[in-house]
């Protein structure tokens, strides 16, 4: 059961709790009919709420404090994970984790943003906001993976690259730019999955690949709704309108040609059933990887460049 409840989840979770409560007494009391009625009701409520989510509600789901993160998925979808650290230049960024593991018995490199679960771990993980050394660690390990012909899987989930003095001193812009440049011609298959928040350059910094997949309730855009609101409306209050205007959900991005595929989440979002979510992710990754491995490396890189070259809209 969710520890944290979003406003629009409330009626559903309250009903679920009521049903659970009644079940305890179901043996002694003749309330099976009542329970069945309530279950029908909660089913309908779920259908109603989750098939009509606003863009802002999806942003809230993407940020749900119970939502699974990279390090939650890795043990659920892989074996023999071994995390590797450091950029060999400055330090080890805890907001990006990376390491080799076996997916369906084959070695892959997984690189992902990592948020914390409580105050202490969030400080440790810098709230999932990488510094330049995070991007450089990611690149170092991706190049290592390419050297040994191992595919790369990137899991995106960040509120943005960290805007700090040290980050600027150490070249945040250069670090992200370098990753875009190098990932665009990295000679190994790359699958990118936006699992939660895909906030601008901080997300894209590990987001160039052959296949771009996105969880149903993730968001991905050039700016967060709050920041967009504060700039265009000059107040933080218009975040819901900003989320609508930015068209930042998975269905929006599929339409815009930014992503290739939506990964469905369990009813109510990934946090309602992490095991089921992980199973879906695993199956899709195996399927996608199998297809990519059939393509020769040169062709793969060529197709990757072509894919991004087509993005955008203009008239002449």
């Amino acid at each position: 059961m969710a520890k944290v409840t979003l406003d629009f989840e409330k009626p559903i979770i309250e009903l679920e709790q009521k049903i659970a409560e009644m079940r305890k007494y179901a043996d002694n009391l003749d309330i099976a009919d009542e329970i069945a009625t309530l279950e029908n009701k909660v089913d309908q409520l779920r259908q109603n709420v989750y098939s009509n989510l606003t863009r802002w509600q999806r942003v809230q789901l993407a940020r749900h404090p119970d939502r699974p993160y990279t390090l939650d998925y890795i043990p659920l979808i892989t074996e023999d994970f071994i995390e590797l650290h450091g950029d060999r230049r400055f330090g080890d960024d805890k907001a990006i984790v990376a390491g080799f593991c076996k997916l369906n018995k084959e070695t892959v490199l997984i690189v992902g943003h990592q948020k914390g679960r409580d105050t202490r771990s969030n400080i440790y993980r810098n709230f999932g906001m990488p510094n330049p050394e995070g991007y450089r660690k990611a690149l170092r390990l991706m190049q290592l993976a390419a050297k040994f012909h191992r595919p790369v899987i990137c899991l995106l989930d960040t509120p943005g690259a960290y805007p700090g003095i040290g980050a600027e001193e150490r070249g945040q812009g250069e670090a992200i730019a370098r990753n875009l440049f190098e990932m665009s011609h990295l000679p190994t298959p790359i699958i990118v999955v936006i699992i939660g928040e895909g906030a601008s350059g901080g997300a894209l910094g590990i987001g160039v690949g052959d296949r771009i997949l996105m969880f149903e309730n993730a968001w991905y855009s050039v700016i967060s709704p709050e920041s967009c609101s504060s700039i265009l409306w000059r107040t933080w209050e218009y975040k819901e309108q900003a989320a609508e205007a930015l068209k930042l959900t998975a269905p929006d991005l599929l339409e815009q040609g930014v992503i290739d595929r939506i990964i469905p989440e369990p009813m109510g979002g990934a946090h309602r059933n992490p095991q089921m979510m992980a199973q879906t992710l695993k199956e899709i990754l195996i399927e996608e990887l199998k297809a990519l491995k059939k393509i020769k490396t040169d062709r793969l890189v060529q197709l990757r460049v072509e894919k991004f070259s087509k993005m955008g809209a203009w008239k002449e």
Binding site: I176, G205, I223
Partner: protein, 279 residues
């Protein structure tokens, strides 16, 4: 994230207008001296007294860099189509048409072929006057094509940046331009064609996190603001004042992210010298 804090049109980080002035006399934002228009022009829009660099656009920069001020512009009329039907306090479509009318430009970058001291080059120059030099699909596509031309003709590419970052009114499509342009620059690099990135005030956000920081050589004008996050965002995040000179050209030179700082008057000769070494 918030790359756009500073992308309001024509407003510099200190909140003062600093585009090329219309009247005959101009007060220098650097030393407060009064400068005559003619003198400013002759000095390539830099202050003769303190060296302050006024913000200029593609028209002026093409004139400064290219032999005889001559060039063949590419994709001249490419325009945004407002893919998201974006609306905040105003519709984006309206912002575009108003900017086109006001600036006589079609978007925030112009690309061309020309020659620098006889060396055939491809040049892209951003115009901050057009929606804060923001980078959306049109900037992305024009720069991608310029990189293609440079690669196919084996002519060096020079990009002059002046921007508040990515254009948020095109959402994720603006973000994807960063990947597109970086991929094209990787192809250019793989083909062994030089790319010089010229950074002018300001160069921030998604442009810094893509082509501006991917040059074989990074040349900056003096005292230009260059960074990923805008100073206001950083200040808000850390809750402290920023050190003096933070994110200026001299700071980046010291930190190792640009190769050299060059006065606008020496820009053409410096680029020529560099190209002779690389070609």
């Amino acid at each position: 994230m918030a790359w756009f804090k500073r992308s309001k049109e024509n407003i510099s980080p200190d909140g003062q207008k600093k585009d090329i002035p219309d009247g005959m006399w101009t007060k220098c934002s650097g030393c407060s001296d009064i400068i005559h228009k003619k003198q400013l022009e002759q000095n390539l829009f830099t202050c003769p007294k303190c060296g302050y660099h006024f913000r200029i656009g593609s028209k002026e920069y093409f004139e400064i860099l290219l032999d005889g001020g001559k060039f063949r512009e590419m994709d001249k009329k490419m325009q945004s189509v407002d893919p998201l039907k974006f609306k905040d306090t105003k519709p984006y479509a309206g912002r575009i048409s108003a900017s086109i009318k006001k600036t006589k430009l079609f978007d925030a970058v112009r690309t061309c072929e020309g020659a620098i001291n006889g060396i055939p080059v491809v040049v892209a120059c951003m115009d901050f006057a057009f929606i804060g030099g923001s980078m959306g699909s049109v900037v992305g596509e024009k720069i991608a094509r310029a990189a293609d031309v440079a690669r196919k003709k084996k002519q060096p590419l020079i990009i002059i940046s002046s921007t508040g970052g990515a254009r948020m009114m095109e959402g994720a499509l603006s973000l994807m331009q960063m990947a597109k342009m970086s991929a094209k620059l990787a192809q250019l690099s793989d083909a062994g064609v030089p790319y010089i990135s010229v950074l002018t005030d300001p160069t921030t956000g998604g442009v810094t996190a893509s082509y501006a920081m991917l040059g074989d050589v990074h040349v900056a004008e003096p005292a230009a603001l260059i960074g990923f996050a805008g100073p206001r965002v950083i200040k808000q995040t850390i809750g402290k004042d920023l050190p003096k000179g933070f994110q200026r050209s001299e700071f980046l030179l010291d930190k190792g992210f640009i190769d050299l700082i060059v006065h606008r008057k020496d820009m053409k000769e410096t680029i020529t010298k560099l190209l002779h070494h690389l070609l």
